[in-house]
Symmetry: C2
Subunit: 124 residues, 2 copies
DNA sequence: CGGAGTACTGACCAAATGGCCGGTACCCCA
DNA sequence: TGGGGTACCGGCCATTTGGTCAGTACTCCG
């Protein structure tokens, strides 16, 4: 694994690079919503995620300094994940995007079909 | 191609779904910066993109109602791409993310290694 | 008349991504 | 004593993603 692909053209793709991965957005979201989550809690929060992918994503995010991993040397293993400052900042930056996404979901992912020209006769 | 994968857990992944793709972020960026671009202009703006991928991405973005495609029935083909309102809104929503990404690039993708404990001796 | 440009499309292939399953080491509960 | 839970790791495989290359139809330029 190369140290995060290549030279970036603009900030957008640097950021997108870091959040691309089927579950990373959700992990960020979970951690943002709950502050601290254990491995199994995250797994349960992400319906359908495999343990392998979850660990893999978590490790990458740790390497990218988005999350912090705290291991307790206890007998039934216990690991807690939290957002780092950078991760929290990312989440802040993701808020408008989430807003946009929610809007999009609300409209059924489709703009109304009518174009401005035909808007002379509304709903009748 | 299913109509944009599945039920989304939150707005974030709905949005990420729509911008994931090696060049989509850059296309958005280009269109935002220039307003209107022709196919070949976009190709030249994205160093390394293949024509196939570019068309593919553009078609998906059109289907997602992010961009508008205007075909001129001229002899040497001419097609112009512009952002739709939705696309422009997406771009707005991406600004903070771009900001975050630029920050990240500036710091060389790495937080300073020193931890708070050792910060007693500053730069002297 | 040949070469380049325009905006694509499709075949074929390689790499990346992610899913399934099995194993680990140890504990608690019935 | 056996099953479930904890937090993983690794192999194998299917799907997805993206790249390379060739072709299209027609025009402009030298």
């Amino acid at each position: 694994m190369p140290p995060r692909k290549g030279p970036y053209i603009c900030g957008i793709d640097a950021a997108l690079d870091v959040v691309s991965g089927k579950w990373k957005g959700l992990v960020l979201w979970e951690l943002h919503a709950h502050g601290t989550r254990r491995f199994a809690e995250l797994r349960r929060a992400l319906p359908g995620v495999s343990e392998k992918m979850l660990t893999q994503h978590l490790r990458q995010m740790e390497e990218d300094d988005l999350i912090h991993r705290k291991v307790y040397a206890e007998v039934p293993p216990k690991v807690e994940y939290t957002l780092t400052e950078t991760g929290a900042a990312l989440n802040e930056a993701l808020q408008p995007l989430g807003e946009w996404g929610r809007d999009r979901i609300r409209r059924g992912r489709l703009e109304v079909v009518g174009d401005p020209d035909t808007s002379a006769s509304p709903t009748s």
